[in-house]
């Protein structure tokens, strides 16, 4: 996914001082559990105040500032309201994940099943090309798809548990090592999630 000349955000100097991070923009601590209703309310409040529509007749400087601030509010809301994007962003912010990182290596315990799935996918493609009977193959793939969808659900549950651990660690003002261990776990889960999701999407594409 990454370009050769694109560097990750983490090793770069900290962001411009006038730009708040997404949590700070909404006056939230860097925790992973966020109540949706107050978040939305805050989003609407900030939008009401900062939207460029309010500054059409203002100076160019004010218009520029409104554009920048309202885009930051929108960017922050987009990330914070999505539970997975929120974890990704937190890890990037804390330096525990490279921006755009999606490891495409199969998690070891899934290797065997992934191997089988890929074989079935190849067979289906061949059968499609040859115009053969697809029903048995399709049934097999559908079963595999269901299996991986269940695994996706499991990963999401694990993610939720790890997220709660993170929040507890923040609240307890836990030390760096404890935090790092949770972040490594979260990162692992994110990678596994993205891997399985890709699999499920690929199967869905072949089945339609």
């Amino acid at each position: 996914m990454e370009s050769t000349n694109k560097e990750n955000r983490m090793t770069a100097p900290s962001k411009a001082p006038d730009r708040l991070d997404h949590f700070a923009r909404f006056a939230l601590p860097r925790k992973l559990w966020i109540e949706m209703a107050p978040l939305e309310q805050k989003f609407l409040q900030l939008s009401w105040k900062l939207h460029p529509d309010n500054f059409v007749n203002a100076t160019e400087q004010e218009r520029e500032l409104s554009l920048q601030r309202s885009s930051e509010v929108n960017d922050a809301y987009r990330v914070l309201r999505d539970p997975v994007a929120r974890v990704e962003y937190l890890l990037e912010l804390e330096g525990a994940r490279k921006e755009g990182e999606h490891k495409q290596q199969a998690p070891p315990e899934l290797l065997e099943e992934v191997f089988e799935l890929n074989e079935s996918l190849d067979e289906l493609r061949e059968a499609k090309a040859a115009g053969g009977d697809l029903s048995t193959l399709k049934a097999r793939l559908e079963a595999a798809q269901k299996n991986f969808q269940e695994k996706l659900g499991e990963v999401d549950e694990h993610l939720q548990v790890a997220a709660q651990q993170w929040d507890a660690a923040v609240e307890a003002k836990a030390g760096d090592n404890d935090r790092k261990a949770i972040m490594v776990r979260l990162n692992e889960l994110l990678n596994r999630r993205s891997y399985i999701r890709n699999l499920v999407n690929n199967v869905a594409k072949e089945l339609t």
Binding site: M1, E2, S3, T4, N5, K6, E7, N8, R9, A12, P13, K15, A16, L44, Q45, S47, W48, H51, P52, D53, N54, V56, N57, L67, Q68, S70, S71, E72, N74, D75, Y77, R78, G100
Partner: protein
């Protein structure tokens, strides 16, 4: 500062509207003919002047090589994009044009933004005549699914027409704004907008807050090349085939004949929105007559694939908003094509509720634009519109893949920061290619722009340049770059892949003002003719009334003479002469007007001209 208006720059018709400062209600402004619809047709007169609207539409039949319609289909597109349209539309494209299309009218070349600017200028004239004041700013609507280049082209058109475009508003959003005001709805609303050339679906959430109403767009989808035009084209192919078969006449070889058939078929289409059949009678140049009866069933079988094509985007928009059809509280139909019963029933069936059609589907978008114009102009702060970008923004990465940096349906303004560095020592530039679209490979997405980031010579990996991609509230991309080592802003020269440069816009603006001067006399002639028509009809009516028998023979002769003189003037192009003859007829009919008035019950009409009685 002049007045501000809302403009619906449509594929088939364009409209201009304003908000009454007293009542706060939006209203469409009629043109000289009294209609609020300005056909989006432009024609170049052999004398070099530009004709827009209804008179230009009539010329589609007689001077098809000097006239153009549906130019919206060409906005922000390159020649390679429109090969399919060229088969169906009699666009005459300059063969040397590539990324900006150049259209031939007579022997002159125009870009799509210039043609659109002629339409905008006409509407500006309508509004100025209506207010008696200058109009210098506008909110213009665009299909929600328009990409960056199409939006930029629309903004350019405004500039060329000497209008400051304060905001581009998405058409379905504008419609929701007009309806929201009208119906005081709250909840989740789906707007299904099938116009002449484009289809949009938007899902909105209407929220009441302590401070005012917020219209938040949750998702949008569509097809910028799907609309009533497509139905016309299908009917056209069918009938051409039949004419060729029965009469051995190839209609497509004769542009004027194509236009005439198109006109007849559109009339049939309108009939089929109300009745169960439409009779088509079409005279061929060889004197033969082609007659055909379109049944509702046959029409609907042509229409069905088009309606089906709209349902893909509808489902996607709902999925992106995480809503089921049953969770939509209100459905709104917009665009002339939604008058078709098949579309109404399909939409009703899918959402399980009767769609709103109370507002005139031709006017509702312009009305919404006028509401937004009023908000921006007067700082009326009781309403806020939060719209989204319809397409994902991406950057080409290694191997021709696309990394999405701003996903579709992000609330705008939206931005993304990307960090770049060099791969080899003393590298002086980094090439960046920005794209729009949902596909994974750059070649399948729409190229927006390419640019080279200039880098001061340094060891590989040392430079740190942050590039900010920002989609503004109009849905248009802005790019800025900053060298993080010294905090310096870099200027970024973005060369749009499809579009005209600022210098070209300046030149077009100057040329367009020249045309505007020619337009002025042309418009005066049209207005004078319209006025003549009114007084001629009034005179004829009054002369037939019993009161007219009291006129003397001399008076009667003077009237007849003035009528003949006016008719003669109307045939020419001298608007001053027409005005003079109108005054002459008014004088000749003073006594007649008095007689009619005395006969009338009310004396309140005293002192008025005959045409006003």
């Amino acid at each position: 500062m002049g007045r501000i208006v809302g403009i619906d720059l449509g594929t088939t018709n364009s409209l201009v509207a304003y908000t009454d400062p007293q009542t706060g209600a939006p209203q469409c402004i009629p043109g000289p003919s009294g209609s609020t619809l300005c056909p989006s047709v432009v024609s170049l007169d052999p004398d070099g002047s530009i004709i827009v609207g209804e008179p230009a539409r009539r010329r589609l039949l007689t001077q098809s090589e000097r006239s153009i319609y549906s130019v919206k289909r060409l906005m922000g597109r390159g020649v390679a994009d429109i090969q399919n349209e060229l088969k169906l539309f009699p666009f005459r494209i300059d063969s040397t044009s590539q990324n900006v299309i150049r259209i031939k009218l007579g022997d002159k070349l125009f870009t799509p933004p210039e043609i659109s600017a002629f339409i905008l200028r006409e509407l500006k004239n309508w509004a100025e005549a209506f207010f008696g004041e200058t109009v210098d700013r506008a909110v213009i609507t665009v299909p929600a699914y328009f990409n960056d280049a199409q939006r930029q082209a629309t903004k350019d058109a405004g500039k060329i027409a000497s209008l400051e475009v304060l905001r581009l508003v998405n058409e379905p959003t504008a419609a929701a704004l007009a309806y929201g005001l009208h119906e005081k709805q709250r909840g989740r609303v789906a707007v299904y907008d099938l116009g002449g050339g484009t289809f949009d679906i938007s899902v909105l959430k209407l929220i009441s807050t302590g401070e005012g109403d917020i219209y938040q767009v949750l998702s949008t989808n569509g097809d910028t090349h799907l609309g009533g035009d497509d139905i016309d084209n299908l009917m056209q192919s069918l009938i051409r085939e039949k004419i060729l078969h029965e009469h051995r006449v190839d209609v497509s070889a004769q542009p004027d004949l194509v236009q005439e058939l198109r006109k007849a078929l559109i009339a049939s289409k309108h009939q089929l929105s109300e009745g169960d059949a439409a009779r088509l009678r079409f005279e061929l140049p060889n004197g033969a007559v082609f007659a055909y009866e379109f049944s509702r069933t046959e029409f609907e079988s042509l229409l069905r694939p088009i309606v089906d094509r709209t349902m893909g985007p509808v489902k996607q928009a709902l999925a992106d908003a995480h809503l089921a059809p049953s969770e939509i509280d209100e459905v709104v139909l917009v665009g002339g094509t939604t008058r078709t019963p098949l579309i109404r029933s399909t939409v009703q069936e899918y959402f399980g509720r009767k769609p709103h059609t109370e507002l005139n589907p031709d006017e509702v978008v312009a009305l919404g634009a006028a509401v937004q114009a009023n908000i921006l102009d007067r700082g009326v702060k009781n309403m806020l519109l939060l719209d989204v970008t319809p397409l994902s923004l991406g950057i080409e990465t290694y191997g021709g893949a696309v990394a999405k940096v701003i996903p579709r349906n992000s609330t705008i303004p939206a931005s993304a920061q990307e960090m770049y560095t060099t791969g080899v020592d003393n590298q002086t530039g980094i090439d960046i290619h920005v794209l729009q679209g949902e596909r994974e490979l750059a070649k399948d997405c729409r190229s927006l722009a390419r640019f080279t980031l200039k880098v001061p010579p340094a060891p590989a990996g040392l430079p740190r340049i942050e590039v900010r991609f920002l989609i503004d509230a109009n849905g248009i991309l802005q790019v800025a770059a900053k060298d993080l080592r010294n905090g310096q802003q870099h200027s970024v020269e973005v060369q749009p892949s499809y579009g005209i440069s600022d210098t070209e816009i300046e030149r077009m603006l100057e040329e367009s003002i020249e045309y505007a001067e020619q337009d002025f006399s042309e418009r005066q002639v049209i207005e004078a003719r319209t006025e003549s028509e009114a007084i001629l009809v009034a005179t004829q009516k009054a002369s037939a009334l019993p009161e007219s028998t009291s006129l003397s023979t001399e008076e009667r002769a003077a009237i007849d003479q003035s009528v003949a003189a006016l008719k003669e003037a109307v045939a020419g192009n001298d608007y001053k002469l027409i005005r003079k003859r109108i005054d002459g007829l008014n004088q000749a009919t003073t006594h007649l007007a008095e007689l009619v008035m005395n006969g009338a019950v009310s004396t309140a009409l005293e002192g008025r001209k005959l045409a006003e009685v």
